[in-house]
């Protein structure tokens, strides 16, 4: 006996199997990301003043990646529509664009956004030492204006050996522009364009530093959630790209020739998955890049 309703719909539910399956799967994905986002909410609500950094990610690049995902979402439904209209060539091109979009997204993430973070350092100061570095932090003015205090100094670490060598007593940090001009109102809110660390090197006594680490997941709760959520999201993107590639390769032309509706259905379910991945990103982008 053949399995019914793989392509045609079951009359009483109006659905074919894979469509039910993918929606159930997406429901579980909602719960998965729901768990992660609830962690985000609680860790953020619990964060002490100044400990949830702002403006550390590259907004234009993030916005571009968002746009790329949105475009790929459009092309994937166009690919599906093309199949429905039995235009295989158009389908092929739309699919190619979708796949490329996915790949660009991943490449940007893995070769640019993430590595850049690993090179950045942040020295979290002990509470009692904050006053000593007031000239970098500008906290007096910030408290006056009701802004969150700054509790760490970030930039490029010039003397990496200091991390391991107990004989070196100071960290030398090539400051991010914010710390060069802490009292400049322009620095009160995150910059739209990324500004690299300056040549201005600050010497910070190790005694005063609670922790000095690069911006990896170990740095603080913000980066922990950022890397975990974008990492998991990236895996989803990768999965989608692999599936689309399979459907774009010549093997699926055969499926099309046997029954075009079959391929259209496949594209529809994988497209649903892809839209979902896009949808998650729509929340990730403002939560991590903008707020």
């Amino acid at each position: 006996m053949e399995i019914p309703y793989t392509i045609s719909t079951r009359p009483d539910t109006g659905l074919w199997n894979a469509k039910v399956g993918i929606w159930l799967f997406l429901a579980s994905e909602v719960m998965l990301f729901g768990g992660l986002f609830s962690a985000y909410i609680f860790l953020r609500l619990d964060a002490l003043p100044g400990e949830w950094p702002h403006g550390l990610l590259n907004v234009p690049v993030g916005a571009m990646n968002t746009a790329i995902l949105i475009i790929s979402s459009v092309t994937v439904v166009l690919a599906w529509a093309a199949l429905k209209m039995r235009r295989y060539r158009a389908y092929w091109w739309y699919m190619l664009v979708t796949i490329l979009c996915g790949i660009i997204f991943l490449v940007v993430k893995l070769t640019y956004e993430w590595p850049q973070k690993f090179e950045h350092y942040g020295a979290k100061l002990k509470p009692e030492a904050l006053a000593k570095y007031e000239k970098y932090l500008g906290n007096e003015r910030r408290t006056e204006k009701g802004l969150e205090p700054r509790v760490e100094i970030t930039g490029h670490l010039e003397n990496h050996e200091a991390l391991a060598d107990p004989n070196i007593k100071e960290f030398e940090i090539g400051l991010d522009p914010v710390y060069v001009e802490p009292n400049n109102p322009a620095n009160d809110r995150p910059h739209f364009f990324y500004v690299p660390p300056t040549d201005h090197v600050a010497k910070i006594d190790k005694e005063d530093v609670e922790r000095n680490t690069s911006f990896g997941p170990w740095h603080n709760q913000y980066f922990a959630t950022y890397f975990t959520i974008t990492g998991l999201h990236g895996l989803h993107v990768l999965g989608g790209v692999l599936v689309f590639t399979y459907m774009w390769l010549p093997v699926s032309k055969k499926v099309y020739q046997r029954n075009p509706e079959h391929l259209a259905n496949r594209v529809e379910v994988s497209g649903l998955f892809w839209h979902f991945v896009d949808l998650i990103w729509i929340f990730v982008f403002p939560l991590f890049y903008l707020l």
Partner: protein, 113 residues
Amino acid sequence: MNNPPDISQDPAEHEEYAHGVHQHVMRYVMVGVTLLVFTALTVALSYVNFGTAKANIVVAMLVATFKAGLVAAIFMHLAAEKRLIYRVLIFTAFFVLGLFFLTYLAWYNPIVR
């Protein structure tokens, strides 16, 4: 048996069907453009000061929810889906919100002296 040959291979029927799909294509593109515009808007709004940081978050989340709604409704065809799928999603939404809300409650109702 349960998978009858595809009717849409019949040229006449297919013509009609394809026409229907064709009408949608424009809509997909429009939605895509709207999403891009709203992405720009989110970025812009994040540089506007709505008074408190919380207000900014709320605004950004409203925009994001609207965008997500568009994706779900149009790209994922949720605007016209079968009842069964709505049911599954309603339960899921309920449980996610339950997870958020109850954990929140538990968090902010500790024993205090």
